[in-house]
Symmetry: C2
Subunit: 315 residues, 2 copies
């Protein structure tokens, strides 16, 4: 049995593109991030990515595959990026084919939240599980599902959009016409806005920047009752979506990562309380709620791991 | 290639137990239903079931397997019925083992909504699909999921409990502590109660029996605006749950059966309207909403089909 080869993991974000060299879950080298908005279209951006890939391969000749995580809908099988709402020109771009033509390396292109889920499933907190829901909480709320020991991609590779599921059928209308989307309650900005309102209701006036999830975590740790209540509210709303996932899929574990999850027990303790109060025995008796292992490197780890697995390597 | 053998399908309900002989999806023979509540425990009830099975096998010697659909949580792999809330004495009953000991036929025991989903997937409206959500709407709301061409059972065989998922994180508390469960909005009795209230608000006083889904379907067909509004409300609530399933699983089709679905386009037309307004392109462009093929025989068809497939027969 040969050892796992090196792979390139690319985390394509709306602001920066991070490109790293991974050995299993270890980021052993990386290039300076590419500023996504400095490029006027896919052609020049793909060329810039290819230059970085070339440099990294010169330093690491053993690189065997390339994985890219994209912030939008991707046709996984064909490696076509359907549409990026925040990066101009990215409509129906055959990124897999383009990168393969330049690099001649096996390449996969996948949704970024699916890459995070894949990282946690293959290398992280959910390693070895057959039924897993992974959630990443930041400005947006994304996710990925493992069912019967397989990634769930669905009919058109759209599956796992946990942040778009509703927690209130009468809620306000979100980005896709969907009412009450979880993301519109517990995204970074929504948490901050709710917190500012909660302070204001007590006669305390704060800047929105002082109400970020990180600031709220510090405040709650110091015993601030308003901040603690905000975290309980976030947990209650998140618990509804997680509960729905449990009744539907009966997973072994929920893995939660992303910036908001850095609040740790401030989020996880009330989440467990609200969740377990709303599930019957078979759904909660063997259910674990786990913090993600990976932080900002999750996308690169997942993309690189997926690329190797798809290329038939031992991971 | 040998032809499909006969199988016994059993639909174990809280009121009656229906036992039939199936050839593919055709109910070719059946016994008079067993009155579930006439028996004081599992032992006598299993004996009664075995007597009926024996009679049917005398008439049809080719019967090759037995499938049982149960109204509660079942350990599918081991065929153990964990608990039936409405039938006394049914706690941790190894039904698969007991029936096999008596009949020596390969036996499967599965949740009844999963049997319905299996029938629609293998023999019905969702035949041949890889990604399918099946929903059955009656007094309760149940369901079953097909993902990547496989039935989803989850870690403890609890998956598919669509009726317990929430459409309102602030909704009232349901049977399992879960707030805003779909079943508590669009079960038979809840539809009737909402309709009675809607009529009352217009100064029209009706008996609850005149507000059944069947009565409301007739009224709406005759142009009754209150009944039509009730169906739109039911569809809107159901659409939230279906939408959540679509964002999570990106299925090819939603199959809806059960008594409430007999309303046909009165339910399906507003469901499609509310659903498609809340999904982006990749989720709705190739999505079908389909009425179930099977009615009251769905459980028997699914149980029998599953039993044959698990026993290795051509179905």
């Amino acid at each position: 049995m040969t050892d796992t080869p090196l792979a390139i993991g690319i985390d394509f974000g709306g602001t920066t593109i991070k490109i790293g060299v991974l050995f299993r879950s270890n980021l052993i080298d990386s290039a300076p991030p590419i500023a996504t908005q400095d490029f006027d279209g896919p052609d020049s951006l793909i060329e810039a990515m290819a230059r970085v890939i070339h440099e990294l391969r010169e330093r690491h000749p053993g690189i065997a595959a390339i994985g890219v995580g994209m912030p939008g809908f991707v046709d996984f099988e064909n490696g076509i990026v359907h549409n990026l709402t925040n990066v101009r020109g990215w409509v129906e771009i055959p990124l897999k084919k383009r990168l393969f033509e330049i690099t001649q390396l096996p390449t996969v292109v996948e949704n970024d939240a699916n890459c995070m889920a894949y990282a946690e499933w293959k290398r992280g907190a959910g390693r070895g599980l057959k039924h897993l829901i992974a959630i990443t909480m930041g400005t947006g709320v994304g996710g990925g599902l493992i069912v019967n020991g397989q990634m769930v991609r669905g009919a058109r590779y759209g599956a796992g959009e946990i942040g778009q599921t509703s927690i209130d059928y009468q809620g306000r209308i979100g980005a896709y016409g969907n009412r009450g989307a979880l993301e519109d309650y517990v995204g970074n900005n929504e948490i901050a806005a709710d917190a500012r309102n909660a302070y204001e209701a007590q006669g305390i006036y704060k800047n929105i920047s002082d109400c970020s999830p990180a600031a709220l975590a510090t405040a709650a740790t110091n015993g601030d009752p308003i901040a603690m209540q905000v975290w309980d509210d976030v947990a209650r709303k998140l618990a509804t979506t997680v509960m729905n996932g449990c009744w539907l899929l009966n997973p072994e574990a929920i893995v939660i990562g992303g910036g908001v999850a850095k609040a740790g027990d401030l989020l996880f303790a009330p989440l467990q309380k609200h969740l377990f109060a709303q599930l019957s025995g078979p759904f909660k008796d063997h259910l674990s709620i786990l913090p993600a292992r990976f932080g900002s490197e999750a996308g690169m780890v997942g993309a690189a791991t997926l690329a190797l697995e798809e290329a038939g390597h031992v991971i």
